[in-house]
Symmetry: C2
Subunit: 571 residues, 2 copies
């Protein structure tokens, strides 16, 4: 392929809306073009990378026996109403009406659709297990689309669904996918870590997310270097020592008028550490107010809190509700004698805590000192409801947890019978009974993976593509395109590489060498071959890997170029 014939545009300037390196590089290297907020066209170079990732995903899915299908993007509202998610999905789901006023969604995922399709085909245990997958565009009406392909409104996703006769079978299907995902990301040149995660609205049981560790990641992950424990911060647990273990304070509660509202201000005002403060938050769980207390140096984990409250709809209470519940101004909520009789949950760390400073639940800017949880508060339950922090002890091995950032590129879920119950997806057993199908679902963000690769593999000059997913494995920088003899050498190398099934682009533009080198580094082809009159006069062409420094450049005879490239790509 000749550069001059390709629709390529490299840019010197970073796009104004790009916050992270991979987004900047996607646009600057001419891989994608923004059509509107959260909507990107994949240009020829970006398309090549996207197709290579797709192909890896497809091959690994096929190797597990999963069968490729494709389902409509337009999904009738009835499907979503059957599962109860028509309302639950909220404004993140694009909705529209056809000319007959039938409501439909643009699929953000396809559990409902696939269950409806598969149940109409599967009737007997003989047809199980079966796993199907599709690589299809998905849609999400993001509040604030950003980070390029990471939070876009339209994205390419591989979604697979397994159907088994029982939980054991579903377990097997789950781990088959789990291992396929390990292979997929490895083949994409990605270090992706499987981490335990929360099932959320999708199901309640076992689930792992695959994260690419990167500072630009949106998700926090608790990570134990010692034992390998890795969990999404939403579910991560640490080894917690209750405050009861510390010094006990027997003093009586004391009102402490204070203008300090935040923990930071209170630390200054009272001159005691945040570990002796209590944060109290009011939430509304399925319409009813609930209070949660964590230690002043901690943050409430909303996912854990929601599970503890057993709530489906869960959100911070508005100011009016807070005032009503506490009887106090905003910032002075506490666990002692709230105005309203609401359940109060406290973090396990607070069990037995004494001598704490809390909000007063009083009609004024008043805190309380010397609060003893067991003595002074009516706690519904003590439980782990705080977010794990850097330096916490690993609950598994006692090692030290570190908090890393991750980009989620895949997830495997055990769905159980959530959807098969809703859709009455049953099968006839061998003894002619009837049983419910047990399901799992498994996603890979295909377009997101492309960007995660860039986020994990780049330097100040541009992208450093792993060979398996590079738009082209090799770039030939033809320095003197007007010199027929030199051009012939480039042509021969191009043909020889293509014959060896190595894809190559020849930069035949009439540009200065500096421009070509800069563009090659920016786009990040794994191997660069420089073909120029001067070099040829000195006996050869220059070959260098993108990831190597300049001084590793090798000079080889043109006829040896292909072998050398093979070695470099394999190395």
């Amino acid at each position: 392929m000749k550069w001059s014939k390709m629709l390529i545009q490299t840019l010197r300037e970073n796009p104004g809306d790009a916050e992270i390196d991979s987004h900047k590089l996607l646009v600057r290297a001419g891989l994608v073009k923004k059509v509107a907020g959260g909507l990107y066209a994949y240009l020829p170079l970006g398309m090549r990378a996207l197709k290579k990732v797709q192909q890896i995903v497809r091959e690994e899915m096929d190797s597990t026996g999963a069968q490729e299908i494709v389902m409509p993007i337009l999904q009738p509202a009835e499907l979503w109403k059957t599962s109860g998610r028509w309302d639950l999905m909220g404004p993140n789901m694009f909705r529209l009406k056809d000319r007959a006023e039938h409501e439909a969604a643009l699929g953000p995922t396809a559990e409902e659709e696939v269950t409806d399709v598969v149940k109409s085909i599967v009737s007997s245990y003989r047809q199980l297990p079966v796993t199907v997958y599709q690589i299809q565009w998905k849609f999400r009406d993001e509040t604030r689309p950003r980070f390029g392909l990471m939070r876009s409104k339209e994205f390419l996703m591989k979604d697979a669904y397994s159907f088994d006769t029982d939980a054991d079978g579903a377990d097997k299907s789950y781990w088959t996918m789990y291992h396929a995902y390990e292979r997929i990301f490895a083949r994409c040149g990605l270090k992706a870590v499987p981490v335990q995660a929360d099932g959320g609205d999708m199901g309640d049981s076992l689930t792992h997310e695959f994260h690419v560790l990167a500072d630009a990641g949106e998700d926090g992950i608790a990570w134990c270097e010692k034992c390998g424990y890795a969990a999404n911060l939403e579910t991560a647990v640490a080894h917690v020592e209750c405050d009861a273990a510390g010094e006990v304070c027997h003093a009586e509660i004391e009102n402490a008028p204070t203008p300090a509202k935040t923990i930071e201000e209170m630390v200054k005002f009272f001159g005691v550490p945040a570990t002796k403060m209590v944060k109290t938050l009011v939430y509304v769980a399925d319409g009813k107010p609930v209070m949660f207390c964590v230690r002043g140096d901690r943050e409430l984990n909303e996912v854990k809190a929601k599970h503890l409250a057993g709530a489906k709809v869960f959100a911070l209470a508005d100011f009016a509700t807070v005032r009503e519940v506490t009887g106090a101004p905003i910032g002075y909520a506490g666990p002692v004698r709230p105005q309203a009789d609401v359940p109060i949950y406290a973090d396990i760390e607070l069990k037995g805590a004494t001598g704490m400073i809390t909000g007063g639940n009083l009609a004024g800017e008043i805190d309380l000192k010397n609060v003893s949880f067991e003595r002074d508060c009516k706690i519904a339950a003590y439980a782990d409801i705080s977010i794990v922090q850097d330096g916490d002890k690993c609950a598994k091995c006692g090692g030290t947890l570190a908090i890393k950032r991750g980009i989620e590129v895949g997830q495997v879920f055990k769905l159980g019978t959530k959807y098969s119950d809703a859709f009455k997806a049953v099968y006839k057993t061998a003894d002619l009974g009837e049983n419910t199908i047990v399901m799992g679902c498994y996603g890979v963000g295909v377009s997101r993976t492309v960007q995660a690769i860039i986020e994990q593999s780049h330097d100040k000059d541009g992208i450093i593509w792993p060979a398996a997913v590079a738009p082209f494995a090799v770039v030939v920088d033809l320095l003197d395109p007007a010199d027929a003899a030199v051009a012939k050498v480039a042509e021969d190398i191009e043909r020889a590489l293509e014959d060896a099934n190595i894809d190559v682009i020849v930069d035949d533009r009439e540009e200065r060498p500096g421009v070509k080198f800069k563009d090659a580094d920016l786009i990040g082809f794994p191997v660069r071959i420089v073909v120029g009159a001067k070099g040829l006069a000195n006996g050869g062409v220059e070959i260098k890997r993108r990831c190597d420094s300049k001084d590793k450049t090798q000079i080889v005879a043109p006829g040896e170029a292909v072998e050398r490239v093979k070695n470099l790509l394999a190395g």
Copy 2:
């Protein structure tokens, strides 16, 4: 691949909503599953065929140097407003709003989007010509979705767009695509005929549709066996002899009260042939009434009429307008002295016609006899505005035109500068001037092609797949799956075929031979190998092509099966 592991469902009954064979067979063979009206999931077998057609399209596009991209399905309204098509597309285009109330369309096509993307990258003549293509899902809010994948709401389309410096270049790009399309359909095993067609809203210049001739086709095509002339009925022209050539009638106009309204009734009532009658129709062209006259045995060609009137918005007038224009009851419009002063266009065939019977434009059920067009009517223009009929003379060679039915599977268009003007897509010329890019667009209905193949190639028992696009090239009907020795033979043949890159499915189900044969014929795998204990005892396995009759069955030793299959697939 083992049949028992695949999600396959064959049906004995035709689906209730299927009107044509290919739709029935798509569903009965388990290639697709209806999700809702006009929305289909592609099951594993259908997906395999769809992917094979996709791959053929991709290879032929790539061979022309066209570059694959992919653009968002969600297209901002601004793009469509820039071209003026936001309103023109009417209710066929799905529209929705995002959470920020921005309007968008689900792309039915992508001229606007691609022009906007390409113009932002191309700035110099050096970057031209360039052709890009995508294989992407398209959307159409059909009034009445039907015929399976033929008129569905969501369909897979390959759309390509060429960008050239001038009309000559655009012409070259056009014919490059034209010939690529010939290769695509030939490789799909389709007899597709390129026919001249009308540019419609998409542009005004040269365009060809590729039609698969089939009785179930929705489009009419005029076809000259002698010279090969082929045109969509919308644009087809015939050699017309004006009525002036016949006997001349000098009699004066005469009122003829008659209860007959239709041509058929008039022929009975007056006892003269339809060729002596005139059909007069009132249309509204861009808000103004216009009248059109064709001979009684002809139908008005709305496309030709619209072009003649130079109208953008064009539709039959409502009854009130007709009464106002003619001054007569419905059914009594004519070209003589209408009530309102509106332009009257007459078909070229009526030039010089005398002794005609027309509607009276009078306040009653009154026709006129002895109408001479030149003498009695104020005709704005005579032109070809009728639909070509079976038996008309070919305008090119004088041969006889036949009317065939066709399924449109592709179309090539010269767009000129329609979109580049609207989007100011310009380039710098070699002498630093500025010029407008000249475009073309080229579509292949990928999912529709799958169905057209079935419509063209099936019999009473099922589909007869061409090998290149069959879900599997070979089915091995394993008659005694429980017999280990027999199963081993099937296994060996399966592996040998796979090693030879021939895809094969082994029907290992515990079903009667009759069921297996019926299913194999219904799905229509090109070659069937029967492996059974009885056959093996008699020296071999049975091999037969789907398209051959039973008596062509060959018995070969298992070891020879692969070679025989290769010969049959090549034959």
